[in-house]
C-alpha cells in the first residue's frame, strides 16, 4: 500500500485509480466477470458504459410514475368531492361534474408530485444528505472531480479478500491501489 492508513477501525474496500475512461471501463468489465457485485465507480463526468456494467437498477422512475399517478388521481378526486359532493355550486349553468375545468389543476398536481417524488426519491435512495463518505479518506480521491477515474470494490462483497482482491486490481493496470478505511 502506498498510503497505508492504520487509524481506521474497519476496511470499507479497495480503491483502484485509473488515468482514462477507457481504462476504467476495461477494468470494470473484468471486475464484473470476476463475479464482484458490490463495487462502485467515481468519475469526473458520467461514463454511460460504467452505468450499464453496474447493472444499476434505479427505483426512481417507477417511484416518479407512482407519484404522478397519485397526484392525478388525488387532485381529480378531491375536486370532484368539493364540487359534486361537498359544496355543489351552479357556475354559469354548467353541470356540477364539469371535468374539463379540472384538467389544469389535475395536470399541475401530477407534475408537482412526480417532480417532488423524483427529486426527494433520488436523494433518499442515494442516502443524501451524506456528510461523511469513506472514499474521501484516500487523499488521491480529490482528483475524482478533476481528471482521474476511481473504482472501489467494497469489503462487503462475498468475493472480497484483502490480498487476492488487491492483486486482482493491480493486474487491471491502475495507477495506484489504495485501502479505503471505514
Amino acid at each position: 500500500m502506498s498510503a497505508p492508513q492504520e487509524t481506521g477501525s474497519g476496511l470499507f474496500g479497495l480503491m483502484a485509480e485509473f488515468e482514462t475512461p477507457t481504462d476504467i471501463v476495461k477494468a470494470a468489465e473484468s471486475v464484473r466477470e470476476a463475479g464482484y457485485r458490490s463495487w462502485n465507480a467515481y468519475t469526473p463526468y458520467p461514463v454511460p458504459k460504467l452505468w450499464e456494467l453496474m447493472e444499476h437498477k434505479s427505483p426512481v422512475p417507477a417511484m416518479t410514475f407512482m407519484g404522478g399517478l397519485t397526484g392525478a388521481v388525488a387532485s381529480f378526486a378531491f375536486i370532484t368531492w368539493t364540487q359534486v359532493v361537498d359544496y355543489p355550486w351552479n357556475i354559469g349553468g354548467r353541470p356540477t361534474f364539469s371535468w374539463p375545468a379540472w384538467i389544469p389543476p389535475t395536470f399541475e398536481t401530477t407534475i408537482l408530485l412526480a417532480g417532488l417524488t423524483a427529486g426527494i426519491g433520488m436523494l433518499a435512495i442515494n442516502g443524501f444528505p451524506k456528510p461523511y463518505h469513506p472514499v474521501f479518506n484516500v487523499d488521491a480521491f480529490e482528483r475524482a472531480s478533476q481528471d482521474r477515474y476511481f473504482l472501489v470494490i467494497k469489503s462487503d462483497d462475498p468475493h472480497f479478500d484483502r490480498t487476492s482482491t488487491e492483486s486482482f486490481l493491480r493486474e487491471l493496470g491502475p495507477v495506484e491501489v489504495s485501502e479505503v478505511d471505514e
Binding site: G92, P100, I103
Partner: protein
Amino acid sequence: MSDSTLNPSDYQPPAELGRVQSIALVVGAVGLALSVLGYFSDQEQFFRSYLVGWVYWVVIAAGCLGWSMVQHLTGGTWGLVLRRVLEAGSRTIPIFAILFLPFWIGMEHVWEWARPEAAEDHLVQLKAGFLNKGFFWVRFLIYFAIWTGLAFMLSSNSRKQDETGDPKVTVRMRTISGPGIVIFVLVTTAASWDWLMSLLPHWYSSLYGFYFVSSTALASLVFLIVCAWWLHTREPLSGLFRAKYFHDYGKLTLALTMFWAYMTLSQFLITWSGNVPEFTIWYEARNTGGWKLFTIPLVIFHFFVPFLILLSAKLKQQPSRLVLVAFYMLAMRWVDLYWQAAPTWHENLTVHWLDFATLAGVGGIFVFFFIRELRSRTIVPVKDPYLKEVIGHG
C-alpha cells in the same frame, strides 16, 4: 477513424432504396388512378378526400424543413445523421404545389366561402377581404415560395459543403435557420387557416395555428423515425445510428405527443369555458352525428396510449419497438386530421374509400420523389465538420 474527410464512396445510399421507390411509385399511381375514377363518380367527395390526403403528406414534407432548421440551430448529432433525410423531405415541397393544382377547378366543393352562396352570408362577407379565391392563391404561392426557398437554400449549401468541406457553410446554414424557423412557423400557421380552419368560416379559434404546427412537428418526426429505423438496419449507416439517437427521437416524440395534447386541450378548454356559439360550433359538430366515435378515441389513442408507452426508457432505445410506435402515430395523425376536416362536410360520421385512395396516391408520389432526392447524394453530409463526433464516438 478520426480523420476529417470521410470517403464519399463509403456513404452511398443503400441499393434497396430503389425497390422501395418503385413500390412507392406503383402505390402512388394506383392511388391516383383510383382517385381520378372517384373524381368522375363523385366530384365533391373527391376534392374533400383529396384535401385530407394532401395535407397529411404536405405537413410531413414541410416538417422535414422545420426539423432540419432545428438541427442546424441546436447542432445535435441525433439530427446530423438524418440531415440528408430531412433535406430530401424538404426538397419534395414543390411537388406538393403541383399536386394542389386540382383545387383550381374544385374549390367550391371544399371551402364554403368559395361558393356563390357565400355572397348571402353576412359573416363570410365580412371576411371576404381575406377569404376570396384570388388572395387564397396568392397566399398559397407565398407559402410555397418561402418553404421551397428555405429548403433549397439549405440543401444547396449543404451540397456545396460536400464538395468543398468549407466550415463556413455550417455557419451560413445556421444563420439562415435562425430567422428561417420563425418564418417557417408563421407560414405554417397561416397555411393552417387557409387549408383547414377556413373550412368552417364562421368559426373562431386563435389556437388553431399552433395546434396545427405541433401536429406538423409530430407527424414529420414519426416519419423520420421510420426512415431512421429503415436506414439503421442497412449499410452504410448501420454503424452510425446509436441507441442513444433513438432514445432522443423517442423523447422528442413523447414531448410532442404531450405538446399536441396540451394544444388540443387548451383550445377545447378555452372554447368550453367561454361557451360562445362562434367558438363552440366546431366542437358541436364533432360531438354529434356519431363523430364522438372519433373524438373520444382521439384522447385515448392519440394521447394516453402513446404517452404511457413512451414513458419507458427501454422501449425508446430499441429501434424495432420505437418504430412500431412511429407507425401507430402515423395512423393516429390521419385520424386526427380527418377529425379536424371531415365533420365540417358531413353531419354524420362518414368515411369514404376515396379518403384512402387519395392518401395512398399522394403518399406514394411523395415517397417516390423523397427517395429520388435521397438517392441523388451521399446518405450523410460527409464533409460536415461535426460528423467527426458521430464517427469518433464509436
